[in-house]
Symmetry: C2
Subunit: 232 residues, 2 copies
């Protein structure tokens, strides 16, 4: 699906350089289901935002397999290619949801669905919300919903687009264990049955071990080891 | 510390009533350390907001022991009493932090510290931030910090006030397991050594079992059982 090579990204506050990503290289195949773990502040969200085309790396390459034999470095996308990439190819579940406050739950999902070009956007938006237990909450605004309910809108919005690559940044932090397991099962099924590529940032090592054989560990903006499921 | 009796709270969307709290009764003693668990949408945040004086119940009583033999129903507080209650008596760690975007990490903590009337507010603000691993981030703005870094500012802000009652609404959802354990240890110590009353909403049943003997379970706005640590 993609190969990231030596990706670097720094933030600057005044003249102090914060190396959020300090040379990350990563190979992810189509249909992979991988967990990304690492301490708070280690660069996981920065990596997700760069892979999702929402932020730009300072250096390195991120070569994407666009299907039909085409490969391209996302850093060389034109403005239009980047917009299409974000709307159709990628489904991102943000750590802090980024819901639009003046749209209802249903409208939030529908907006993403329509931009992604899928068929029957309204019906599918309703189906996803219902599947996530929000069937009686279509017309609520985000500020009329609990933390976990908002998180589920963010999840539905990424999935309804039927994207090739799903980037989930701590998608279950505000959900109880029953719903957390439901989300992981949905994501795992998308990988196994629909060949979607799934990267999940999580702090929950038990869930990581339960659902994925492959874990990626990040610390101080670098990979520390690419390892199999930890046996206990 | 307090006794809550038959507390009810509804939200209305149009003419539909959502019973967020449907008659909750709860007794919490000074120095208690209790976990509150329950499904997403069950009323935990609503309960925290009411106990913290940020939202008002529709009916019921919440009788607080203010120390020096005084007891009062927070629903009968005057405007000034409620302001003091929120600033000095209560430390709340919000599920979504509620940091002030135009203040730095240090300024966010200091504001709460000054309002609470504690001595040496600036020094203590720095100490708490350093203790939580943010010693090199005093002057960053919230949007220049990772999710878990922002969460730790929210934690520091509640603790620096040295409050009698700490209400932590999912305080470690964005933290890795090392930092999560550090936070639980800090909170546990505040209860055991400083006799502070601590209520923690969490979805993490393993942490709940590891740190607290007493769990409170909420579902559909009601208590379902008050139970001891689950043995496995
Ligand atoms: N402003 C509001 N208007 C309408 N309904 C609301 C509002 N705020 C919360 N609710 C509803 O009240 C119920 C309880 O919400 P609350 O935020 O207390 O849940 P919670 O237990 O904290 O959930 P979570 O674990 O997802 O954070 C939910 O069904 C929610 O949809
Ligand atoms: N806009 C910014 N300006 C300055 N520094 C930033 C900015 N955004 C992030 N950082 C820093 O970059 C580093 C990586 O941040 P990132 O958000 O990727 O971490 P993370 O691994 O997602 O952490 P968490 O688990 O807490 O969400 C952190 O040290 C953070 O303080
Ligand atoms: Mg993050
Ligand atoms: Mg909540």
């Amino acid at each position: 699906q993609f190969v990231a090579r030596d990706v670097k990204k720094s933030y600057w506050t005044g003249d102090i350089e914060i190396k959020a990503l300090d040379g990350i290289s990563l190979k992810v195949a189509k249909g992979d289901f991988k967990m990304i773990l690492g301490p708070s502040g280690s660069g996981k969200t920065t990596l997700m935002n760069i892979l999702g085309g929402l932020d730009s790396a300072d250096s390195g390459e991120i070569i994407i397999n666009l299907g039909n034999g085409k490969f391209k470095d996302i850093r060389k996308f034109t403005k239009n290619e980047l917009t299409n990439y974000r709307r159709m190819y990628i489904g991102i579940i943000f750590q802090f949801y980024n819901l639009i406050p003046i749209l209802t739950a249903l409208e939030n999902i529908e907006l993403a669905a329509r931009f992604s070009g899928i068929s029957n956007p309204k019906r599918k938006s309703k189906e996803y919300l219902s599947e996530l237990g929000l069937g009686d909450k279509f017309n609520r605004y985000p500020n009329q919903l609990s933390g976990g309910e908002q998180q589920r809108i963010a999840i539905a919005r990424a999935l309804v687009k039927d994207p090739a690559l799903i980037l989930a940044d701590e998608p279950t932090g505000n959900l109880d264990s029953v719903k957390t397991n439901e989300i992981y099962k949905i994501l795992k099924k998308l990988s196994e049955d629909y060949n979607k590529t799934i990267l999940i940032v999580t702090h929950d090592e038990d869930m990581a071990n339960k659902y994925a054989k492959e874990h990626i560990h990040i610390k101080d903006g670098r990979l520390i080891r690419n390892q199999e499921k930890i046996e206990r």
